[in-house]
Amino acid sequence: MLDRMDELAPLFGISLYETLVMVIVSLVIATVIGIPLGVLLVVTRPNHLYPNKWIFQLLNTIVNIIRSLPFIILMLAIIPFTELIVGTSIGIRGAIVPLIVYIAPYIARLVETAFLEVNYGIIEAYRGMGASRFQIILRIMIREARPGILLCMTIALIGLIGATAMAGVIGAGGLGDLALRYGYQQWDMPVMFGTVIILIVLVQIIQSLGNYFAKKLKMSG
């Protein structure tokens, strides 16, 4: 493997770069969708800030439906939707849409649990002191759930990396694509092996950072 370093290094470099682009772009957008969705899944519950049976049931069902599909099936099933949004269903652009659709409900579900861990008594305390419901969500619930949210995001990020690998199937590039084309189709073991190492290191780094910062947030709170 080492003697092919000159040939493989740029290959790994580009693939890693593509993976990171897909992961970061879809994570950012999915977070913007997922966290408010998670908040809604909590506050629309009965006896919470904005109890609403219909909205809760609707969101809950949508999240459940999407969450029950494996990424590879979801990706292929929503091709028309992807084409509608970004004009193509292949490449990095074509992969980002299904990645977002896949991971946003995942984030919502994880964040929901983090929010549910915020003691309702605290929410009641601030309602009793005349804080608005909006202030309570933004300044109390999110703040108190921060360590939990960070751990959720770590889990979502790792799940996302797994999903990007499958996006190789639609020619999205990235480490999955590399492993598929070189490792599987050409049975190039060093490339396969290299991909595995890079993924392991990547996930380790993310998990450790997530744990570290969650702990730090918890200690300051």
């Binding site: 605290i122 009793g128 002191m129 804080a131 109390i140 360590p147």
Partner: protein, 349 residues
Amino acid sequence: MIELKNITKTFYDRKTKVEALKNINIEVKEGEIFGIIGFSGAGKSTLLRIINLLEEPTSGEVSINGKDLLTLKERELRNVRKKIGIIFQQFHLLSSYNVFDNVAEILRMNGVPKQEINKKVKDLLLLVGLEDKADQYPANLSGGQKQRVGIARALAMDPDILLCDEATSALDPKTTDSILKLLLDINKKLGLTIVLITHEMEVIKKVCDRVAVMEKGEIIEQGTVLDIFSNPVQETTNHFVGNVYENMITEDMLTALQGDEPSYILRLAFRGDTALDPVLSEVASSYSVTSNIVHGSITYLKGTPLGILFVHLSGDADKLKQAISYLEEKVYRVEVIREISGKPKEVLV
């Protein structure tokens, strides 16, 4: 100040109707400490939450300073709530904020300028005795200290009313005492009206001016703490004031007390600042009855002693009646607990 009229609260647990509150009427006066006592499940917590509408009553009226809260829009209601502080058994502090920020956050939400917040929070922490704990996190504080933070936070918006939801129930007796002292202190210093709920009579005794006793969603007795203690009527109230003399006066004792003449066991309640001895000896001499103290205790109500004596009085039937009416004049409360008839005279054949 606070007026609850005909409050009912009904909710449905699955299909079963639960009447959490039934026809509650309470009036809390400005500056007083009003206690609500009851066993768990009596509805005290629901009732307390009705005052700031954290819980909406099914029917009835809630008014504060003559303002009907149920007619207010959300924004107006929030303004009323800002003037009602609330503290909890479980404190409900923000774990991610230090002591300073826990008190400051509600001020920030209301757009108070930073310098003002700094001064206000410092003053409040000084008031509750936590001036050296400003940068500690709740996780590092004891229960009593957490409750002090809770009190400081509740006072941040300069409320007129403080609601205490079992505020001392999670604390040990010594800490409970210190928190109660603090409550008395702020009640005096700030003229704050306090409504507290508890299941401990000790709390009522130490701080409250008036008390309502709750059972199964209803108020079964209410009045000044002195009245409730000197003359409890309902069984639950008797239980709370530790006035369960049924167990104290045994059959053996009654047999022992039975003499030739009829007699009574009386329960005398007297303000501790008036001595009872002369009254008893006076009665004994002027009505030629015999008096014996069976049991006695002194309770302190907000620092004022209330004495309870169980006295056995025997003598001529008519004289006894006169003696009792004399006592009724002289003593705060007189209650006949038992009447013991004289031994039947042995008939010589």
